[in-house]
């Protein structure tokens, strides 16, 4: 019989998410949640899913990706496109949304494979810049894409909505830089949390699987891994595609939370990729729970700092630099080791034993 591998550490992570959900629901039920914070709940799920999935690429695979928002963009547009097409066909919004999420995952995974094949041949900073380039290309191409639907089927153009040549009953679905308007608002906090749990389940189990260990072996020493017979390209691509498809899911959640979806530098540009990377690095590279905490804290922080109005982003930047210096600088690490609570307790125990 196969023994179910239940790791205590993982249970804490799942428990943390569930506890957060319950607390939020109670707060919402008793009316203690400000409307500002309520609006933040779904984006919070989006960013945590993004951070967890990027951690798969950066922490587990060990490659720096600066184009993660590109996959989110692909997932967002493919799912929103599906929802728009099927708005009248599938009446159950839950069923439609579930299919849309699956589609976003498949399309994003497909893009992950296409992009991964050339990209994963490169190394280090070169890989980083190429992922950034792909992310920007995806954003740019979507901005000139026009897709419409009428009785004859789909029409695609890259010029403008008039050159689609739609019949009178037709309507434009993707309208170039204006994007998709009128996406049904299917995303809820509950669905977001469920998707986050599914993401966690996939990533944590992948890390503990044979394939996951192979990926980590490649990260730690590529040549040694190759010489024991691990198929490098296959496992690298696998991790990259899973990471991309989870980002696509986050995109679907994002798209169905807004009524207007367009690819702007702000939401799908490299700035977004970098923001997610900040969550991953601050949370600890390779540490999934850390990613969730960092994403939550850093998403809520600018809102908590609203009292400082104009100064809030400045404070955010300073906090970011200070946290990085405190976390990573060799001197700070040394200081923390010297003054850590665990060590103090241990040394006190030792002192007692000597007595």
């Amino acid at each position: 019989m196969k023994k179910l591998n239940i790791n205590k550490d993982y249970l804490i992570t799942y428990g943390m998410v569930v506890a957060f959900y319950i607390i939020m629901q109670i707060l919402q039920g008793t009316g203690n949640l400000s409307s500002l914070f309520k609006g933040l709940l779904v984006p919070l799920c989006v960013y945590t899913i993004m951070a967890v999935s990027l951690n798969l690429t950066v922490g587990i695979l060990g490659e720096l990706s600066l184009g993660h928002a590109g996959f989110m963009c692909v997932g967002a547009f493919s799912s929103a496109f599906f929802s728009m097409c099927m708005k009248d066909v599938i009446s159950s919004s839950l069923l439609r949304f579930v299919i849309a999420i699956i589609i976003s995952a498949i399309v994003a995974a497909f893009f992950g494979i296409i992009i991964g094949i050339p990209v994963l041949r490169l190394k280090g900073d070169y890989l980083a810049i190429v992922t950034l380039a792909f992310g920007e290309i995806i954003k740019n191409v979507i901005n000139i894409l026009y897709v419409g639907k009428d009785g004859n089927g789909l029409h695609i153009s890259t010029k403008d909505s008039i050159s689609l040549g739609l019949a009178e009953d037709g309507k434009v679905i993707i309208n170039g830089a204006q994007g998709i308007t009128g996406t049904p608002n299917d995303s809820t906090f509950t669905i977001g949390i469920i998707l986050l749990l599914v993401t966690l389940f996939i990533v944590l189990n992948f890390m503990n699987s044979r394939s996951g260990r192979a990926v980590m072996a490649i990260r730690d020493n590529r040549i040694a891994a190759e010489s024991v017979g691990i198929n490098i390209s296959k496992y690298k691509l696998m991790a990259f595609a899973i990471s991309a498809s989870l980002a696509g899911v986050a995109g679907a959640l994002y798209a169905h939370n807004l009524s207007t979806l367009n690819a702007m530098p702000k939401n799908f540009g490299y700035n977004m990729s970098i923001m997610i990377l900040v969550y991953v690095v601050l949370g600890g590279i390779g540490n999934i729970r850390g990613s969730i905490i960092a994403a939550t804290v850093l998403t809520v922080l600018p809102e908590l700092l609203r009292g400082f109005s104009d100064y809030r982003m400045l404070i955010y930047a300073i906090v970011l630099i200070a946290m990085m210096l405190f976390n990573a600088s060799p001197k700070a690490v040394e200081w923390k080791e010297k003054h850590s609570i665990k060590r103090m307790i241990a040394s006190k125990k030792q002192a007692k034993e000597v007595e």
Partner: protein, 293 residues
Amino acid sequence: MSFLNYLINGISLGSVYAIIALGYTMVYGIAKMLNFAHGDVIMVGGFVVFTMSSRMGLSPALAVLVSIIVCTVLGITIEKIAYKPLRGASSLAVLITAIGVSYFLQNLALLVFGSDTKLFTSVVKIPAIQFADGQLTITGETIVTIIACIIIMIVLTLFIKKTKAGQAMLAVSEDRGAAELMGVNVNATISLTFAIGSGLAAIAGVLLCSVYPSLNPYTGSMPGIKAFVAAVFGGIGSIPGALIGGVLLGIIEILSKAYISSQLSDAIVFAVLIIVLLVKPTGLLGKKISEKV
């Protein structure tokens, strides 16, 4: 004729990219870090000139000089406060700190100057030259940009080849540990590199704003990314690579804007980069490092 016009515009834009890319490439070569805040130093340089010449009425040459000094000091300060404590930490940690510095500079500029786009008056007072009955026009800004780029390249190459500080920079980029053992002051060399890179960013900022006369707190970020692409394109760490990468990128961008699609020009630039990197994984002039087992 219009093709020639586009080509010259491309070279002019490319020269600006090359000057920015130099800063990226030097810092990368010596400190082994991607300085994401470099693009924002350009923006600071632009704002200093804007304040000096438009608000205080200083002469353009003096304003540019002040801007270079301010940016150089800023570069050294950033390095001292944010990057120096992280020496020896993982490169990703330094990258995130650089992003933090970039946010900081952008938001500081947002607070001081506001988010509205300022109209930048060009500091170049040279009249445009016209050839072939006005069909071919070369603006004063273009001439100054290209000449500035050439002068900077020559001076920088001479500096690195002929002076002791330049040789120290080469040594540190080659092998930091060995250079330290040979008595090179590594910290001073890294500070110097940041100083030079930031000074160049100030010049690039002035030139960029003279050619494209609009200035806001985010002006620097896209040219910064493009220059980073240019540096990678030419082979990061290589000074002639930065020049070639920058100029090629500028030409590709302007030509694709003119002949293919203005919306897709960025995508085309990035696509060319991807193709180049797939054929030559370390850029056009990058060193190939063989892997030791």
